[in-house]
């Protein structure tokens, strides 16, 4: 047989064709450009409640020791920041009293990760400028702040109002529900736990007792059932004669209340089960922001080429090569 004849026969060989295809694929990896595509990122304003009830230790930390809600929320935020795709932006605010306080406007989560992580790490209840915890007022103003920044909102709180809401309920949301999307994250366990108490030097000195906090809000008109209370007098004792009793000195996550707030503001409610889990909930609730990304096609070509070469080499081991040969001859 002549040389061209041999080559022609070789060209018909199945294993030659496989190898040639692999060669072509590997050669393609040098010319293929990454495929441009858009990914979904988020832009959020994270507002963290740093009021006293967030110091309640009703989570279990990684080392098995009790961990405060605040520490768990910080861990969750750090986890969230690392899980967001590059190009997402995060602004950070604190909440106490009745308003959020913006620490910084949105910054990018990858390039500026170090300062963002440092700022999250430094969050402390000692940054609080006042002791009140008017959740609904703080939430509504956080929604406004997120709107002014053009971001979504992640509001982490345990929903513990201090002082308690009056019988007439909290303030009403006067914004447009759903105009700002995002999450209300309820921090805390469902069972009541004592709230740690700190002295003016910031050292822990025990827990709040039932007499240390306001158990009932006695500003404004008395509740409807006041007339049936013992010692009720419309002028002298409109709330009844007995001292208010209750469990305001203990704290749990006020989930029904937070769900009502979520409904009023058009946000989504999610419970904070631990450091992980905020990310997926946020992605469902937040406005997707297209981010430029690219897909490297080389592994696809390389993977197929590898499979082809392996098939070529493995074929004789399973007798296929001989079969081909016999058939061809």
């Amino acid at each position: 047989m002549s040389a061209p004849g041999l080559v022609r026969r070789n060209l018909r060989d199945r294993r030659f064709q496989l190898l040639a295809a692999a060669l072509a694929l590997v050669a393609l990896t040098f010319v293929a450009r990454p495929l441009p595509l858009t990914r979904n990122g988020v832009e959020i304003l994270a507002v963290l409640d740093i009021t006293g009830s967030m110091n309640v230790r009703d989570y279990v930390g990684a080392d098995g020791k009790p961990q405060s809600r605040l520490e768990t929320a910080k861990a969750a935020l750090r986890e969230l920041v690392t899980s967001l795709p590059c190009g997402s932006r995060v602004a950070l605010g604190l909440f106490t009293e009745r308003r959020p306080f913006l620490l910084f406007t949105p910054i990018e989560v990858c390039a500026d990760f170090a300062p963002l992580d440092g700022a999250l790490d430094a969050l402390d209840w000692r940054m609080a400028w006042e002791g009140d915890s008017r959740i609904s007022a703080g939430l509504f103003r956080s929604v406004e702040m997120a709107a002014s920044l053009g971001t979504d909102l992640v509001f982490i709180t345990d929903g513990h109002e201090a002082p308690p809401l009056p019988s007439t309920g909290g303030p009403a949301f006067d914004g447009k529900p759903g105009a700002v999307r995002g999450l209300i994250v309820g921090a805390g366990a469902y069972a009541l736990s004592p709230i740690p108490r700190y002295n003016d030097r910031g050292r822990e000195t025990g827990f709040y007792g039932s007499g240390d906090v306001q158990q009932e809000n006695r500003f404004g008109p008395p509740p409807a059932d006041a007339e049936s209370r013992e010692g009720y007098n419309p002028r002298n004792a409109p709330f009844g004669a007995a001292a208010a009793s209750g469990t305001e000195h203990l704290s749990s996550v006020r989930e029904p209340y937070l769900k009502t707030l979520a409904q009023a503001t058009g946000l989504t409610y999610a419970h904070l089960d631990g450091p992980a889990g905020v990310g997926p909930a946020l992605v469902r609730a937040a406005t997707p922001r297209p981010l430029p990304g690219s897909l490297d096609l080389r592994p696809v070509f390389g993977g197929i080429a590898l499979a082809l070469i392996l098939a070529v080499f493995a074929a004789p081991l399973f007798g296929a090569g001989r079969f081909v040969l016999v058939k061809k001859v």
Binding site: R9, D13, R15, F16, A91, G118, R126, M127, R322
Partner: protein, 346 residues
């Protein structure tokens, strides 16, 4: 130089690269007796180079799929700049104008003016490092010491939002000092306080602050945004000269008594603020070590290249295959040697 891979587990497939030692990609030719042909060096060489080509083709692809890269490096260089810890007063009065009024129309509040001018200051020199703390009743760490100017500007962009209640400068000073960190010894440090008022520093805290200032020895700049008509730093009160009566004057005296380089700038308008910031920029010109990031280098291309080399050899060998069984008339030892490496696969 450190080599890393995105998907190291893919490297577990590397033993597959030994497959060419067990099997050949070439056609198997039946031969009556391998002993009939003489030992041939060239055939042996071709046989081994084809095995090597197979190993390269498979191994190269496996390595390429694992996403190899050379890790980025951080190189410490020396530039001109300083570590600047900015301490911003976020008390409510910062949202008033320099005339002590609510801003209206084109008027600029003190906070807005300092936001604009500080934002220009940050990033005007590449190697400065900044930290931002805020204080009202309590001190707040906003951004720790960083060379990421974008993040610092984001922190400064937030300072003209509505402020909080009071001015408690002592704890703020403590936090701003804590931002310097202990490690860097011969770095020029500057502490820049932007406030529109002052408060009494608790005598109990004064000792601690003095010790911290003496240890860190920062250059201290106080940018005092004075409201028109309010007392100046240097004004002696007409009545009793106590810290309660004239907190600004006594804060100034406290700073002067620290024994560190200190300058106070009294600004009564945006131009004066710009002027003061310009002066600080000129004063803080010292060498500072900074970190340069070398990006990581993708090495997958090289691995694909190696694989390509092996594949070219394999394909060429497949093309050059000659089958002895088809050349029955000329089966002889002399015709055999060159293009039949498979003969060696005994």
């Amino acid at each position: 130089m450190r080599l890393m891979a995105d998907f190291p587990w893919v490297l577990w497939l590397l033993p597959l690269a030994l497959l060419p030692l067990a099997a050949s990609s070439q056609r198997v030719t039946p031969l009556s007796s391998i002993a009939a042909s003489p030992v041939d060096g060239l055939s042996r060489l071709i046989g081994w180079s084809l095995r090597a080509a197979g190993i390269l083709a498979i191994g190269g692809l496996v390595v390429a799929l694992s996403g190899p890269y050379r890790q980025g490096e951080t190189i410490t260089r020396t530039g001109i700049g300083a570590q600047v810890s900015i301490l911003v007063d976020r008390s409510g009065s910062m949202n008033e104008t320099f005339a002590g009024m609510q801003p209206s129309g084109a008027e600029e509040s003190k906070a807005a003016a300092s936001r604009r001018l500080l934002g220009e200051f940050v990033g005007s020199r590449a190697h400065d490092q900044f930290a931002v703390s805020a204080f009202s009743t309590a001190p707040m760490l906003v951004v720790p010491m960083t060379d990421r100017h974008e993040a610092v500007r984001a922190a400064i962009a937030a300072i003209d939002r509505p402020g909080l209640d009071y001015t408690n400068v002592a704890r703020g000073l403590g936090m701003a000092l804590s931002q310097f960190g202990a490690s860097t010894a011969n770095v020029s440090r500057a502490l820049l306080i932007v406030s529109d008022g002052a408060a009494v520093i608790d005598p109990r805290v004064q000792g601690t602050l003095r010790a911290e200032f003496a240890r860190l020895r920062p250059n201290l700049y106080w940018l005092f945004l004075r409201t028109k008509g309010s007392p100046s730093i240097s004004d002696r009160p007409s009545g009793e000269d106590t810290p309660q009566a004239a907190p600004e004057r006594h804060l100034d005296l406290f700073f002067k008594s620290l024994g560190i380089p200190y300058r106070a700038f009294e600004a009564e308008g945006a131009e004066a603020v710009a002027d003061a910031i310009g002066q600080i920029e000129r004063l803080e010109r010292d060498p500072i070590p900074y970190i340069e990031q070398r990006p990581r280098r993708d090495l997958a291309g090289w691995a694909y290249g190696i694989s390509l080399l092996g594949l070219i050899l394999l394909v060429a060998a497949k093309l050059a295959e000659a089958d002895l069984s088809l050349r029955r008339p000329v089966v002889s030892a002399s015709a055999a040697p060159a293009p039949q490496p498979q003969r060696l696969a005994a």
